[in-house]
């Protein structure tokens, strides 16, 4: 299996505070990897490093084959990113957003045009063709944001609480899109507070106080902790936390 993310002994300190305390893991091609942890456990710090936005204090880390110290611009070109808080420009229309992101990632005009047509069709956006993104229902906005995040066909996409606040039917349609993307060979790196969504991941890691305290498939973790749900695994582990954001 091809490795898309390699993390060896990742440490990130802010002064005396150890935000990431010796993380070790790999993420594979086509894998849906759930990155869980309590608020303040150090997830955001680690994601920023993997996206090339922040340098680690020490450790050997590569993302999509590029080094997080020396090749951060290359990393940014080869990943996708989407979060609940920020994804699309509210003041632009759907087409303008697609063209903008296509341009940033260096897609040809022809590619941008064909992707635009494809998204209008598959996401059924015709009735919103002239609306600004701010006027779209949240569910549609999130599905479009995901499509835009994978438009340049990155090796890996980071999804930071992508379904927060979305209605339950849309939430499932969103996961169908995630699964379809994984089947194409894209790696998906997902954070979520919905514990049922953790069960959709091929493997999950659970962070506590800056460390990864568990990493396995949902099935194996439930067996290991002798419980019926990932929520119970999470609560057992996160209860041990001594630090709070």
């Amino acid at each position: 299996m091809k490795t898309v993310v390699t993390v060896k002994n990742l440490v990130k300190k802010f002064g005396d505070f150890v935000a990431n305390d010796n993380l070790n893991f790999e993420v594979y091609q086509g894998e849906i990897f759930g990155f869980l942890g309590a608020n303040g456990a150090g997830k955001t710090t680690a994601i920023k490093i993997l996206c090339g936005l922040s340098k680690p204090t020490s450790g050997e880390i590569t993302v999509a084959g590029f080094d997080v110290y020396k090749q951060r611009e290359e990393i940014k070109k080869n990943i996708g990113y989407m979060s609940q808080k920020f994804s699309l420009y509210d003041d632009l229309t759907i087409r303008e957003n697609i063209r903008f992101y296509g341009g940033i990632y260096g897609l040809s005009n022809e590619d941008i045009k064909s992707k635009t047509g494809q998204y209008m069709e598959t996401l059924d956006l015709h009735e919103y063709a002239k609306s600004r993104v701010s006027d779209l229902p949240l569910g549609i906005k999130q599905k479009l944001a995901f499509s835009v995040a994978v438009m340049h066909e990155p090796q890996i996409v980071f999804l930071d609480e992508p379904t927060s606040g979305v209605d339950p039917i849309t939430r499932r349609q969103f996961w169908d899109m995630i699964n379809a993307e994984a089947e194409k060979g894209t790696t998906l790196f997902v954070t979520t507070h919905y514990m049922d969504e953790a069960e959709y991941c091929h493997r999950i890691s659970i962070m506590v106080d800056g460390r990864i305290d568990a990493l396995d498939s949902p099935h194996n973790l439930k067996q290991q902790f002798e419980v019926d749900s990932i929520e119970e695994v999470f609560i057992q582990l996160a209860r041990k936390a001594t630090r709070d954001e």
Binding site: G37, N39, P137, Y200, F234
Partner: protein, 303 residues
């Protein structure tokens, strides 16, 4: 049981959006009542109207006997309100924030300390810290203390657990159940369907309309179909296959299993044998009881 909040045919329209579309509902004194729905369902608009911060276009509502439009002055001293966004003074200390809110309502921390003791004690060791420097969990405890210090009869909590991890959510709900024992009416909104089970009664809200109002047990009992849980190794392809089947009413992934409802008069045994033959030999199924999320999706289907 006396009614703490009465809502009659409430509507509110913003340019281009009907945020609330003729909502009616009654909330009993001393109950934990949940408005459950996704973003954009109208939860915040409703809370702002009930706390007198927004005037409805149509309909009326009373809180503890006061009209939300005419009696706005007395309502404000009766309700406690914790907005979804942290809105305390970040550059005041923990204690200064609490003193400020007590002062605004012409009371003192000492007078009502007993109401907040259980919650405030946990952050009291940090009372000189600026509110802006607190962790998320501590901010929430301070906001709750500030919303309670004037001894409200009705407490409004707008999405207190959104974006909060599973452990902190659990702790927050434990605090609410302790507060309930004081006789306070607690009205809470949340996008997390599983939290419905922690409320005495809930209203399921979608696009400004109430889909159903009842106790969580009643909502589940009203689910009109037989529900089956299906497990298999390859769950996603199985779900995609089921979606294409004409005999399927609905099929949704639910974590490590699929929740399936068949069309009426379809035999589950025969149907499952057929699906197994499509390369899903390891498939296992059983009849299960629905959860609130199943009910919400079924009601969305109908609406």
């Amino acid at each position: 049981m006396s009614e703490s909040v009465i809502i009659q045919n409430l509507s509110k329209t913003y340019p281009g959006v009907k945020a609330l579309d003729g909502i009616s509902c009654k909330i009993n004194q001393g109950e934990i009542f949940g408005f459950i729905g996704p973003d954009g369902a109208g939860k915040t608009t409703l809370f702002r109207i009930l706390t007198s911060l927004l005037i409805p276009d149509e309909g009326m509502a009373t809180v503890d006997g006061d009209d939300v439009v005419k009696d706005y002055k007395s309502i404000r001293s009766k309700v406690g309100y914790m907005p979804g966004k942290f809105s305390l003074y970040q550059d005041l200390s923990v204690e200064e924030n609490l003193k400020f809110f007590a002062g605004v309502f012409k009371t003192t921390i000492a007078e009502n300390y007993h109401l907040i003791e259980g919650i405030y004690k946990q952050i009291e060791p940090f009372k000189h810290r600026l509110a802006g420097k607190l962790s998320g969990g501590m901010k929430q405890k301070l906001a709750l203390s500030c919303a309670l210090i004037h001894k409200p009869t009705v407490l409004f909590l707008d999405e207190p657990t959104t974006g909060v991890d599973a452990v902190s959510r659990k702790e927050f709900w434990e605090m609410l159940h302790q507060l309930k024992s004081t006789g306070l009416t607690i009205i809470v909104s949340t996008p997390y369907m599983d939290e419905a089970a922690l409320c005495d009664r809930v209203a399921l809200l979608q696009k400004g309309k109430i889909l159903s109002i009842a106790s969580p047990e009643e909502i589940v009992a009203e689910f009109p179909h037989k529900l089956y849980s299906i497990k298999a190794q390859k769950l996603y392809p199985l779900n995609e296959l089921l979606k294409q089947e004409g005999q399927v009413h609905s099929t949704y992934l639910f974590g490590d299993n699929i929740h399936l409802v068949l069309q009426e008069n379809v035999s589950i045994e025969i149907f499952m044998e057929k699906i197994k033959a499509e390369n899903f030999n390891d498939l296992e199924w059983e009849s299960i009881l629905p959860g609130i999320e199943d009910c919400f999706m079924e009601l969305m289907h109908k609406a």
